[in-house]
Amino acid sequence: MTDPIGVWVGAILTLLVFSYLLGDTPLFRVAQAIFVGVAIGYAISAAVYLILLPLLFDPLIINPVMNSYLVIPLILGLLLLLKLRTAWAPVGNLSIAFLFGVGSALALGGALDGTLLPQLSAIVVPLDSLENVLLVAGTLGALLSFRFIQPQSGRFGARVVETVARGWGAFGRWFVMIALGALFASVAVSRISLLVNRVYFLLHDWLQIVK
């Protein structure tokens, strides 16, 4: 980073954010407000120059006949502006419904094809190693730990199944806890990486005491 102004601005903002270690100080709030404002401004400019102009208005202006179908998203987008007024907000729900409907359909279909079925097929492995056994047992146990049904009683077979399912579910619950612990630890590792990067920035780019 060769821009000295950018380095100084970055260094000062970094120190303002670090002031949160002493509490919710006004310095931190200043840095927070600056970040929010810059992010919103950048998002608006990016939406205009990266989405609206190249994908909507330019095609409509250059070749409106060929791109007449873009009127539909234009109208849907304009309807969203009606949400600004309470009396007209229900009209804007049409666009919201369209967005949610399409998004939900794509998400459900994609989850089935891209996550659920491939992950289920991934546990169909030969139980020839301890890793595979733990993989299968842990996956099934994690699923059984989310079994919220009335405990079965009566026949001997039902009681046996109930006992096995309950025990296996308890075993799977440990897998769930380990997985959640791993997720939390990975987040902590990720944040330490960001801290290291910021310290290196201060020492290398701003103070220039580290090569």
């Binding site: 990016a46 794509l106 891209g114 991934a122």
Partner: protein, 756 residues
């Protein structure tokens, strides 16, 4: 709802006291019949079982409007003619009316129409009309000192039991008591009552069994003030023989045609026979055997000292004569006749009689000024005990008459029982439960009322909605120990991060690279043919660029070293396009001879999230119509090959700083595009990315700062990632030590009983 009689406030059903003024409420049910104790509803005027009157004749102001013409049956006592006449037949629960007393039903006239009030007399004052007479006409009316005027008796006997006089207030009843449908029929029919139905005192007092019509004089003989009463009601004469009854009393028994505007001169005629002493019937001589004990106790020697009486009342004289009083007036004759026969039944006065206050001035109120002066000139002193004496003289009052007793409007009063609180905030109140009773007496636990679960749930839901939102919990104020420990931890962490920067190869030498997912990614790129098209998706924001930039820089340099053509894009947010351009520009400068538009291209942000990715998977790079840097259409970059489908793409590397972009790539593109996908993710996303890696959905995976360092080592380009991973490792050690030390301190403190 129960409406408070005092303040009009509506209270809930079952309330005993008014919630506004505290007055006792009259329950809508539980009106007990005084005769048969049958509970009736408050709407009942008469008992539904025995027919006794339930609603007493309330004392209401005499209505000045025209009362409805209602005939009156039952007991007829001399009453003030000016007052409205109550239909006694309506209040008559039984039929103790002698056939001989059955009046002839005639068209009744309103009372007020029959007797216009004198302008000088007070309204309703029957005596006031006497004032309009001339002195000559008044002469026979005004009694002498030793001979009380006959007209002075009727009010005396009547006012002695004022409520009996108000029996004739027909308008009052009509207004205050709802008339039953059967009442008019009962009132209008001629009741033939057997003799055995009569009370004893009526039977004995009417030996002649003469009808009231026979005993009644003609209408012209009746005084005008009697006309309304006699016509509006079937007046039953007092129970006495016709021969023993004075003329003025006979006149009262007969219905008299109304004379609305009788001149005063014509009214004088009726006074002549009434006031004539020779026509008075002989007095009833009661023997000692017939005199009850209660009358004997009224002898002068037994009487308590009374207030000074200027003019002895005739009734008092009668009682003083020990059963043989000289009858000085027809009214006294009637009273004495009643007294003589009263002992045949019980003597005890009804409770309401004993409790009724005796107004000493009530009689005086009816007397005009000119009558208050005796003929001798002496002003008669109101006799305080005259009313009580008269009531006692009446003796036993039948129960059915007692039921007709008009009572005042029930004035709700607080319960005066119980001790009076003298101290505390409840001072001045009575009936407060004593503390001893509250403590010593066993208390039955209140039985829980059956609860409707649905209503309970609804009530709970409503309370939750109505409860104010709880403010977010404020962080606890750090204690002194926290303020001393926290900077120490900060300082330890800072030192752990700083030291590796001064000792560059502290952790890099111990980093394992063989057999890792990062090595798979490195091998995949190594196997790429020159000029292969590789898509780099920069799906992270500046917040995670400190971690992801190291991965992206290492990958870009390696790809450029392999002379791959790089297509950069972003699907998470527009900031990814800017980050991609910065990383690629830096890598191109580092590698050299690598130009934008020729060797690499930035397509910018692909909008639409799942929809944009799905379009990428199905229609190639159609969503990206222009590049991010030069804002030109893609056909301006022929060196980057045909981007209409994924067949020309050798590898896709997803750089995800969050799990969502990776998941979308796996769900929308990977199953449909049929292209190899590798991922470089942050440490936070790596556990979830490993599942796709284990399922062979990801060709290779590089995770976190460690993955970047591994890739730098593998690609022989040691740099910031290797230095940073050393700092990260020492920071992890410090954190582990702090966590372990904190837990040890906690356990030691817990063992000493100080959890904090």
């Amino acid at each position: 709802m129960i409406q408070c009689a005092q303040c009009g406030t509506k209270n809930r059903d079952g309330s005993k006291f008014c919630g506004d003024c505290g007055a006792r409420l009259v329950q809508p049910s539980g009106l007990i019949c005084p005769m048969c104790s049958t509970p009736n509803t408050v709407e009942n005027v008469f008992c539904s079982k025995c027919g006794a009157r339930l609603a007493p004749l309330t004392v209401a102001p005499v209505s000045e409007k025209t009362p409805p013409p209602t005939p009156i049956k039952g007991l007829s006592l001399p009453a003030k003619p000016a007052e409205p006449i109550a239909p006694a037949d309506k209040a008559e629960p039984r039929q103790p009316i002698a056939p001989t007393l059955k009046p002839e039903r005639e068209p009744s006239a309103p009372v007020t129409d029959t007797e216009p009030a004198s302008p000088d007399a007070p309204p309703g004052d029957w005596l006031g009309r006497l004032q309009t007479l001339t002195p000559e006409e008044e002469a026979p009316v005004i009694p002498a000192a030793e001979t009380p005027a006959p007209d002075s008796e009727p009010p005396t006997a009547e006012e002695a039991s004022g409520w009996l006089a108000r029996l004739r207030t027909a308008p009052t009843i009509e207004e205050q008591a709802p008339a039953e449908p059967s009442l008019p029929a009962r009132a209008s029919e001629s009741v033939e009552i057997a003799e055995e139905d009569l009370p004893d005192w009526l039977r004995s007092s009417s030996p002649g069994q003469e009808s009231a019509q026979d005993a009644a004089p003609k209408s012209k003989d009746a005084p005008s003030w009697m006309l309304p009463a006699s016509e509006a009601e079937p007046i039953v004469a007092a129970p006495s023989a016709d021969a023993e009854m004075p003329d003025w009393l006979k006149d009262t028994r007969a219905p008299i045609a109304p004379e609305p505007a009788t001149p005063p001169s014509e009214r004088l005629d009726w006074f002549k026979p009434v006031a004539a002493p020779p026509e008075m019937p002989p007095p009833i001589q009661a023997t000692d055997a017939e005199i009850p004990e209660w009358l004997k106790t009224l002898k002068p020697q037994d009487e308590p000292p009374r207030a000074p009486i200027a003019q002895p009342h005739p009734l008092a004289d009668t009682l003083d004569a020990d059963g043989a009083p000289p009858v000085e007036s027809p009214g006294e004759e009637l009273l004495q006749a009643l007294e003589g026969i009263a002992p045949s039944t019980q003597v005890e006065k009804p409770a309401w009689l004993t409790e009724a206050p005796h107004s000493e001035t009530s009689e005086d109120e009816y007397l005009p000024d000119w009558l208050r002066t005796t003929p001798s000139g002496a002003t008669p002193t109101p006799e305080p005990s005259i009313e009580a004496g008269a009531l006692e003289a009446l003796g036993e009052v039948p129960e059915w008459i007692a039921a007709l007793k008009p009572v005042e409007q029930p004035v709700p009063t607080l319960v005066e029982s119980g001790p009076l609180e003298t101290t505390g905030p409840l001072s001045g109140l009575r009936g407060i439960l004593p503390l001893a009773s509250a403590v010593t007496e066993p208390h039955a636990p209140p039985q829980p009322a059956p609860v409707n679960p649905f209503k309970e749930s609804a009530r709970l839901f409503e309370s939750i909605l109505g409860a104010p939102a709880l403010a977010p919990a404020m962080p606890a104020k750090p204690t002194h120990r926290a303020w001393t420990m926290r900077p120490l931890i900060y300082l330890l962490l800072l030192l752990a991060i700083l030291i590796p920067f001064f000792i560059p190869d502290l952790a890099g030498s111990s980093l394992r690279t063989f057999g890792t997912p990062t090595a798979d990614l490195y091998d995949t790129i190594e196997k790429l043919q020159p000029n292969s098209i590789v898509v780099l998706s920069f799906d992270y924001d500046p917040g995670s660029s400190g971690e992801m930039d190291l991965q992206a820089t290492a990958l870009a340099r390696h790809l450029m070293q392999r002379r791959a053509r790089i297509i950069a894009l972003s699907t998470l947010d527009p900031t990814g396009a800017q980050i991609a351009q910065r990383v690629l520009d830096n890598a191109a400068r580092a590698v050299g001879n690598y130009a934008y538009g020729t060797n690499y291209l930035n397509l910018g942000y692909i909008a639409g999230q799942e929809a944009g990715l799905r379009q990428l998977a199905t229609a190639g790079f159609a969503p990206a119509t222009r590049d991010y840097v030069r804002y030109q259409t893609l056909d301006k970059y022929p060196n980057l090959g045909n981007l209409q489908n994924w067949r020309n793409v050798a590898l896709v590397i997803e750089l995800a700083g969050a799990p969502e972009p990776l998941q979308k790539w796996m769900e929308q593109v990977q199953p449909r595009a049929g292209v190899k996908i590798a991922a470089g993710v942050s440490a936070a996303v790596e556990p979830r990315a490993r599942a796709y890696r284990d399922a062979k959905q990801l060709t290779a995976l590089m995770g976190g700062l460690v993955g970047a360092a591994q890739y730098e080592i593998l690609s022989n380009q040691r740099g910031l990632a290797v230095i940073s991973v050393g700092a990260q490792s020492t920071a992890h050690l410090v954190l582990l030590g702090v966590i372990a030390l904190g837990n040890l301190m906690y356990w030691f403190a817990r063992g000493r009983g100080k959890p904090k």
